[in-house]
């Protein structure tokens, strides 16, 4: 058996599917320049390609055909040499549509290997979110704006080649920078992209993460039942109805909180969360009625609190809320927990509203937030800004 190396790309469904595919293809084609063999594939079981859902793409590279075949004999590599996270809000864990529950983004990484995150944050910020593990590994940040495209048109902002440059630095035995550059010149035919890859290689560094350093959250475990123990008729027990809950100040019961699936939380789909101003809420019910995930709780005082473990961050509540600035979608990087906003509001109104004012300032207007392609040339206009962020790093 020769040398077998695997790379995992964790990306957001739809918005980053082309980007992820370009990276895994790039790895295989660049490594092929060195006479190595490889395959690039997506795991569609993890990626039904719904907006924002965490999904995975893979590249495996081998020194010879039989070693490659040994790698291909399992559908998904169980242990990888590099993991790449294409959106830093995924650092909180990736929960696919399936029943695995939330999984850490460093879960498949071999000990001592490298996790690359595309982010504008620092290592210390990300380690508050990325789950701890018993084995050491390396964490490197590829500075950059998260690259999101719409369903149909790819935003060609050099993120693919920059990630390839970082991978060459993190795992030189997989592919050299020279082979990456050759691949870009031969196939992508863009000298500027060669420079981007080269710069990313030069600037990328990874730092050691010690055993058990990181987010201490314990993730739920899901048991796989035997066929004799499973319910018949492709049916599962529904959630009980839910009921009133306690006001943290008065300790009185009130409102209504629907019971929710403890194992399927959905929030890893989110890149932005609704932030609610309970003091201007008119109790019109529109957010509660329109939420496609039933993520709102009716509070004992009759306002509506978003359950942040259930919310997938679609932004419909913000769109239907008739009160200005009552619900704002704020980027997920601003937060490191899923605690109830209403409880904080009840405990200290002044502090909550002061903090709210601060976070609302970071919220982008709705018109600028869509990932979709709205007019010809739009993505091209956005590329210089993205490259500028990368250059400053």
């Amino acid at each position: 058996m020769g040398q077998l190396l695997a790379v995992e790309i964790i990306y957001r469904g739809v918005f980053q599917k082309t980007l992820a595919k370009n990276i895994t293809r790039g790895i295989v084609l660049a490594a092929h320049n060195e006479g190595k063999l490889g395959v690039s594939f997506g795991r569609y079981g993890d990626a039904p390609e719904r907006n924002g859902i965490p999904a995975k793409g893979f590249a495996i590279v081998a020194s010879d055909e039989q070693t490659l075949e040994a790698g291909m004999a399992q559908y998904e590599p169980k242990a990888v040499d590099v993991s790449v996270v294409l959106d830093d809000t995924l650092s909180k864990g990736a929960e696919s549509w399936a029943w695995y529950g939330l999984r850490p983004v460093n879960g498949s990484l071999k000990p001592g290997r490298t996790l690359i995150v595309v982010s504008q944050q620092e290592v210390s910020d990300l380690l508050k979110l990325i789950h701890r593990r018993p084995e050491p590994y390396k964490l490197g940040i590829l500075k950059g704006i998260t690259s999101f495209s719409g369903m149909w048109v790819y935003k060609d902002d050099h993120t693919d080649v920059r990630v390839l440059g970082a991978i060459a630095k993190a795992l030189p035995e997989l592919v050299s920078l020279k082979s990456i550059e050759q691949y870009i010149s031969d196939k992508l035919k863009d000298p500027l992209k060669v420079t981007s890859a080269h710069n990313a290689f030069d600037r990328f560094t990874a730092s050691e993460v010690k055993p058990n350093q990181g987010n201490p959250e314990e993730l739920p475990h899901h048991e796989l039942l035997h066929w004799q123990d499973m319910r018949l008729g492709v049916s599962i027990k529904g959630q009980p109805q839910g009921g009133p809950f306690k006001d943290p100040v008065t300790k009185e019961l009130g409102g209504f909180r629907p019971a929710r699936n403890e194992l399927f939380k959905k929030y890893s789909t989110r890149t932005a969360r609704p932030v609610i101003n309970f003091s201007t809420c008119t109790k019109c019910t529109l957010c509660w009625l329109n939420c496609p995930d039933g993520s709102f709780d009716v509070t004992p005082d009759g306002t509506y609190d978003i359950n942040l473990e259930s919310c997938s961050g679609c932004g419909i509540c913000e769109a239907v809320c008739p009160v200005k600035n009552c619900i704002n979608m704020v980027h997920e990087s601003q937060f490191d927990n899923n605690d109830s906003q209403w409880v904080s509001f009840r405990k200290d109104k002044t502090a909550y509203l002061k903090n709210l004012e601060k976070t609302i300032k970071t919220a982008e207007p709705i018109a600028e937030r869509s990932q979709g392609f709205r007019y010809r040339g739009q993505y091209k206009e956005q590329v210089p800004a993205a490259l500028e962020v990368a250059r400053k790093a």
Binding site: W99, L224, R231, L232, G233, V234, S235, I236, K237, P240
Partner: protein
């Protein structure tokens, strides 16, 4: 149990049964009335749709109380009964030919959802060309999906088998959809004398449909058919496999009880043998071809040719062991397929392929099995056709080599 059940069977029949001259479709309509079906969905396509005409008449006359829903197509027709069944309603539905195929998505999901739909398929050729006559490929399209499938050959058997199908499908050990196949025209539109049992008898035979903890109801909160990945699908398939493992025992049990209550004896539920005791060779087929087959067998026996006929009643479950045991004693077998399975082993029809497969693993001796494609698109399977096939089977018994699949009654 009512006190009258203690009467001798003959006595009960006299008091309760009524005889009527009705078509096969009408016989099934009577079964629906007797089974007190809750939800019925209709959409017109020949030849099955006469059953819906009879049922709507029964509803209009106030003889039957049910939700009678005319859907906008077969897909909806089967979706509606699927959902009604999950909510605890006894349902009836049906279709023919390409109508049945149009409902295929729903037909596919029903077995895994464990809904005991009972349906009538008025067997019809699959378009194109547009044709109304019988072919069995429509119902056979669901043969691998977990449906129970049976073929009947008379109005009486249609009525009885409809009642039996409800009892089998709604058995907690089963909970799978069941289709009763009736040959288009030859059975759906032919009137014969049928004994219609009384409501009391049927009430005794057919308990209420009880879905238990699988009932979709506000008091029993469940979620049905969520997305599942490879961690779950194989286990779900294994659950349906378990149904097929016990299907034959349940069916046998139900036929025994049917006989006890109605006094009509079907013998082996899975297939019927005609003049096979001392036969050298046999023909085997499904559905109404049995009438001309019996006539041909009698005619040939007058000429001293010892031939018999085996009519397959339940195609799913396929009673492989019993069929092999029955057929292994003959010198040669001819299987008549009113269907096609293009590109199959030996280019045979579906039934011939299944019979050969059953023989291979279960029979102690393996006589030659000839396959005949006959009676497609509603063409008659005539007595001379059957004589010709029998002759070929006798030749095979003598060791004369001939093609394993032959088309009979074909021009050219």
């Amino acid at each position: 149990m009512t006190t009258t059940t203690l009467l001798p069977v003959e006595e009960k029949k006299k008091i309760r049964e009524q005889e009527a001259l009705i078509t096969g479709a009408e016989a099934i309509a009577h079964a629906c009335k007797l089974a007190n079906v809750d939800v019925i969905t209709a959409y017109p396509i020949r030849p099955y749709d006469t059953v819906m005409q009879y049922i709507s008449q029964l509803v209009a006359d106030g003889e039957m109380d049910c939700e009678f829903i005319v859907a906008e197509g077969e897909h909806s027709q089967f979706e509606i009964v699927k959902h009604a069944s999950v909510c605890g309603a006894r349902t009836f539905c049906g279709s023919s030919g390409v109508g049945w195929m149009y409902a295929m998505e729903c037909l596919t999901v029903s077995p895994a959802l464990r809904v005991p739909l009972v349906c009538m398929v008025g067997n019809r050729a699959l378009d194109d060309p547009g044709a109304f006559g019988v072919e069995h490929n429509d119902a056979l399209a669901v043969r691998d999906l977990g449906w129970l499938l049976n073929w009947v050959d008379s109005g009486q058997e249609a009525l009885d088998t409809a009642l039996i199908s409800y009892r089998v499908a709604e058995d907690r050990r089963m909970f799978v959809p069941t289709a009763i196949s009736c040959d288009g025209a030859f059975l759906t539109h032919s009137q014969s004398l049928v004994k219609i049992p009384s409501a009391e008898q049927v009430k005794e035979f057919l308990p209420r449909y009880n879905r238990g903890d699988l009932l979709l109801h506000p008091d029993n909160v469940i979620s049905i058919a969520p997305q599942a990945n490879e961690d779950w699908v194989m286990e779900i398939r294994r659950q349906n496999y378990a149904v097929t493992e016990r299907a034959q025992d349940v069916i046998r049990e139900v036929y025994t009880d049917f006989e006890r209550i109605f006094g009509r004896k079907y013998g082996n539920p899975f297939f019927e043998e005609y003049m096979t005791e001392d036969a050298d060779v046999v023909l085997l087929g499904m559905g109404t071809m049995s009438t001309s087959a019996r006539v041909a067998v009698r005619k040939l026996r007058e000429q001293g040719k010892k031939v018999g006929f085996v009519r397959l009643r339940w195609f799913r479950p396929f009673a492989g062991k019993e069929i092999a045991k029955c057929l292994e004693r003959f010198k040669a077998i001819g299987v008549i397929d009113r269907d096609f399975s293009f590109g199959s082993p030996d280019l045979s029809g579906v039934v011939a392929t299944e019979v050969r497969s059953a023989m291979y693993s279960n029979a102690n001796s393996r006589p030659p099995v000839l396959g005949f494609i006959c009676g497609l698109g509603g063409r008659e399977v005539t007595v001379p056709d059957l004589e010709e096939m029998t002759e070929k089977v006798f030749q095979a018994a003598k060791g004369t080599s001939q093609p394993l699949t032959q088309w009979i009654g074909l021009r050219g």
